[in-house]
């Protein structure tokens, strides 16, 4: 039968119509009859959880059918993160549980590393192998030569394990590959980070400025909801992006900036706001330091100066500066989240922080609110040993303002020829697929080949598991308890995750895995509770609740101690910076030997026939975590490369054609990618969604689908302040047909 939906898609191409979501009439399997559907509605049981598909951690309810089968997940109405509404990834979280490609049982490598030949093992044997190796490493080289890479809820257990073992090398790629520069820039300016969820008061803002932030495509739930509320209330959105993003489509002003020049625009805005007297004088006088130095610094950074760099016309720069000033203090120059772009990222976000300070938005309604967090009681476990060395000793004097361990430093420190002051010999990797997370894959693989031990703990057979010596299958978040969620928000709150089903196959919760391993290392006194629910009940009782109550309500929200969501009129605020003020001029950076004020530095541009590789997100996927999820691949099963029509015409490339991408270092993508010819991207850039192009055959649904941006990111611009890996200085060209030689390589 011909699909009429396909017909619509084809006939409307001229008008630029694209049908998103399913529509391919592929018959997969016959599921339920309508009688079964009716049965689903009666006799329901629900259990609380908070989502693990992304870091927003929305609290919700898992509904089961009367037969006890997981049916659907919906938001908890009392949760500030989601307000009763899950995003597509959270709604599709059921697919994580049902994915038939999940890891099922512990595996031990039997052939050389990377060949992916494993044998099945019992938990006891697998953990014994790890414990013996870890003891061996500790006695030979000291426990500080082990490292942990982690992401998500399992982090805390493996962190406890590593600290008790004697290592402080615990890195989350979410720092140096993502939000690290932002956090350091805000710390240097306000003495506080932008938090997660961000403390942006979008629901009450009058002007939201997005610089490369594509809210709506990044589905950070509460933020998307509040942007929608702001649109309803008539707020102005200003979007700076070389791509016509979804947010740009909802904006009063879209600034189609030349990539890599954002700093010039930010400095011109600062110039305009200072020299046109738009800034909040009372606020700046009362709370900020270094204004005169800043003013002198930006004297020459006029809109006309920035025009030559950014291609944004001076009157548009002036108009948007005025728009922000008119909305002040209910204005947000969004700090962004994934900001590791060009290696000067901490300084660029410093410019963002400075703009917010000048507009008086920090601590004000419609700007940034003061977060409140519920503090859980901690049980008295023994204190950790102090390691004789840490990651900071690997390359002394580098990245001195990094407040968290830098994942790429730990990787570089695993390669003996780099002569690190501390050589890393073993990794535990939990919930992060380092191969697709860390740029410069060749370097990561080189490090891996030097290791004495690599343990991968994951729910899915991600690329990293193929390189591991021991693979430990974790159950999904729908099958386990985890620590209570106490993320800061407008009000302090607690959310509970409990299992909706027994772990499938031979999988286990992270807590159990870490504790069992601790027993084999004689460190179990750091895990005094045999079952995690005993710990949760203890903590909840201290908090005036109980496990039993939380199982019923899922989320408990408390009132703030004081009515201080925003600064009050005439409030004397002591900022946690060196000077106690908001530092427009950073004495902290100056003392550490870095520029105290942000400067514009020109970045490399694409050579003839090459295009800057820009990557981003699709609302239905979270990195590679969801790329094999049956429900979510049904919505999007491959990425496309966005190419401007002018460029496509030059190359004779058409929409829906498959091509390969080759980067400036001659790396060709493993797999071909479908072309999307669209006016939505600048002619000097191409765009792809991150998280596709998986080379791991065990993930049958996503193997070979689309292209991996990480594979093409071989030129890494490291931020000298904190070690963040700038990834937007890679350029690709098109390979229409692979030659034999290219296929072989």
């Amino acid at each position: 039968m011909t699909s009429r939906r396909d017909f619509i898609k084809i006939s409307a191409i001229g008008a630029g119509v694209l049908v998103v979501g399913t529509g391919a009439y592929k018959v997969v399997k016959a599921l339920s009859s309508p009688e079964q559907v009716k049965k689903l509605v009666v006799g329901l049981k629900r259990t609380p959880t908070y989502c693990e598909v992304c870091f927003w951690k929305c609290a919700g309810w898992v509904y089961k059918t009367s037969e006890g089968k997981i049916w659907k997940i919906v938001g908890n109405e009392n949760d500030q993160h989601c307000n009763g509404r899950f995003c597509p990834r959270g709604t599709g979280g059921v697919g994580m549980y049902y994915d038939e490609d999940r890891l099922k049982t512990p595996l031990i490598r039997v052939e050389e590393r990377g060949k992916q030949v494993f044998r099945e093992a019992s938990w006891d044997e697998a953990l014994e192998v790890i414990a013996v190796k870890m003891k061996n490493i500790a006695s030979k080289s000291g426990p500080e030569s082990m490292a942990l890479f982690s992401h998500g809820s399992g982090s805390s257990y493996f962190t406890t394990l590593m600290k008790s073992y004697g290592s402080a090398n615990i890195a989350e790629p979410s720092y140096a590959q993502c939000r690290g520069p932002r956090d350091e820039a805000f710390m240097a300016t306000f003495g506080e980070e932008a938090y997660s969820p961000e403390i942006t008061d979008i629901r009450d803002t009058r002007c939201l400025v997005l610089i490369g932030s594509h809210i709506g495509e990044n589905m950070h739930n509460g933020q998307v909801q509040e942007m929608s509320d702001a649109i309803d209330k008539g707020a102005t959105i200003i979007t700076v992006d070389p791509r016509f993003s979804t947010a740009a489509g909802k904006s009063k002003f879209w600034l189609p900036i030349k990539p890599a020049t954002d700093m010039a625009l930010l400095l011109a805005w600062i110039h305009e706001i200072i020299f046109k007297d738009y800034y909040d004088k009372k606020y700046v006088e009362k709370y900020c330091s270094g204004f005169e130095q800043l003013k002198a610094h930006v004297k020459d950074f006029t809109p006309e100066w920035a025009y030559g760099i950014t291609t944004i016309k001076p009157d548009l720069i002036m108009k948007t500066a005025k728009e922000m000033a008119d909305a002040s203090p209910a204005v947000i120059v969004h700090p962004g989240r994934h900001v590791t772009w060009y290696g000067d990222d901490t300084q660029r976000i410093r410019a963002v922080a400075i703009l917010n300070a000048l507009l008086g938005s920090w601590g004000r309604r419609g700007g940034f609110y003061r977060p409140a967090k519920f503090e859980l009681s901690s049980y008295g476990s023994p204190s950790f040993k102090t390691p004789s060395k840490t990651w900071e000793d690997a390359f002394p004097g580098k990245y001195t303002i990094a407040s968290s361990p830098v994942s790429n430093v730990l990787i570089d420190a695993s390669i003996p020829e780099n002569n690190p002051g501390l050589l890393i010999r073993g990794w535990i990797v939990n919930g992060t697929n380092l191969i697709t997370t860390i740029p410069d894959q060749a370097n990561t693989l080189k490090a891996i080949q030097n290791l004495e031990l690599l343990v991968a703990v994951d729910t899915m057979p991600m690329e990293i598991t193929g390189w591991a010596d021991v693979v430990l299958p974790e159950c999904t978040y729908l099958e386990r308890y985890d620590g209570l969620r106490v993320s800061p928000h407008r009000k302090p709150a607690i959310a509970l995750r409990m299992p909706a089903a027994e772990p499938l196959n031979n999988t286990k919760p992270g807590y159990w895995i870490a504790r069992e391993l601790s027993k084999k290392l004689a460190l179990e006194n750091y895990f005094p509770f045999e079952k995690q629910e005993e710990l949760l009940d203890w903590q909840l009782k201290k908090a005036g609740s109980s496990l039993e109550e939380m199982q019923r309500i899922g989320v408990k929200t408390f009132e703030r101690d004081a009515d201080d969501l925003y600064f009050s009129e005439n409030e004397q605020v002591e900022f946690p910076t060196d000077s106690g003020k908001i530092e427009l001029y950073s004495s902290y950076f100056e003392g550490a030997g870095y520029d105290p004020l942000p400067k514009y530095v020109a970045h490399e541009e694409p050579a003839e026939g090459f295009y800057r590789l820009i990557y981003g997100r699709a609302p239905m996927h979270t990195f590679s975590r969801t790329s094999n999820n049956p429900n979510l691949t049904d919505l999007m099963d491959e990425n496309t490369v966005w190419i401007n029509p002018v460029v496509a015409k030059e190359w004779g490339i058409k929409s829906d054609q498959y091509i390969w991408l080759r980067n400036q270092d001659n790396v060709i993508s493993d797999f071909p990618v479908k072309v999307r010819v669209t006016e939505r991207i600048r002619w000097d850039s191409v765009y792809i969604v991150h998280g596709f192009g998986h080379a791991q055959k065990q993930m049958k649904r996503c193997f070979g689908k689309g292209v991996s941006d990480t594979q093409l990111i071989t030129n890494v611009l490291v931020d000298p302040l904190m070690g963040g890996t700038g990834m937007r200085s890679n350029f690709v060209t098109f390979v229409i047909e692979k030659t034999g030689e290219e296929v072989a390589s």
Binding site: G23, K29, A30, S33, F86, F244, E679
Partner: protein
């Protein structure tokens, strides 16, 4: 009683949450959908405009799918909701061919399936699953005969359009522009 839905194209970000929520709520087999997202782009860089909208069955007043159904499986119930009775459907596909909105799909079990406005939920006073989940709150549902329903209120306040009005089906899915 006349049920209808309005979709705010100014707020919809095209995340497809409506699609997944519908699929899980109604146990729609993977590979099929009762609702979907369309993106329409106009202009030349950098003068661009985009409209994103969540689409589904229009629950037409003058429904061609009902008129052409040889067995009476496609029918209209109270409130104007167009439904298919799977037991009476022979899967001939006439309704699919007659629908100007391509809102129906052949269920692998042999009948034709489509959006029901989550009839099983609205009977019990709940909203359709897509309306309840939408993170941007861009979907408004209710009874047009009730002046105070969400959909009546928003349609009074905002300009709207319907799709393919020239087909004469009197569609009840409105798009706020």
């Amino acid at each position: 009683m006349r049920y209808a839905m309005a979709v705010d194209t100014r707020k919809c970000v095209g995340c497809s949450d409506c699609v997944v929520a519908c699929q899980t709520e109604n146990d729609v087999p993977i590979g099929f959908c009762r609702d979907w997202v369309v993106e329409v782009m106009d202009g030349t860089y950098p003068q661009l405009e985009i409209e994103i909208r969540s689409e589904r069955c229009n629950h037409c007043v003058n429904a061609p799918c009902v008129r052409c159904c040889p067995t009476g499986a496609s029918h209209i119930v109270d409130g104007g909701i167009v439904l298919v009775e799977p037991g009476e459907c022979i899967g001939c596909g006439a309704c699919m061919a007659s629908c100007p909105y391509d809102a129906r799909y052949p269920h692998p079990s042999g009948y034709v399936d489509k959006c029901t406005f989550c009839f099983h939920r609205i009977k019990n006073g709940m909203s359709p699953a897509c309306v309840e989940v939408c993170p941007t709150k861009c979907l408004y549902f209710g009874d047009l005969d009730d002046m105070n329903s969400d959909v009546s209120v928003v349609l009074k306040k905002r300009k709207s359009k319907t799709l393919i009005p020239e087909a004469g089906t009197d569609p009840q899915l409105y798009f706020l522009i």
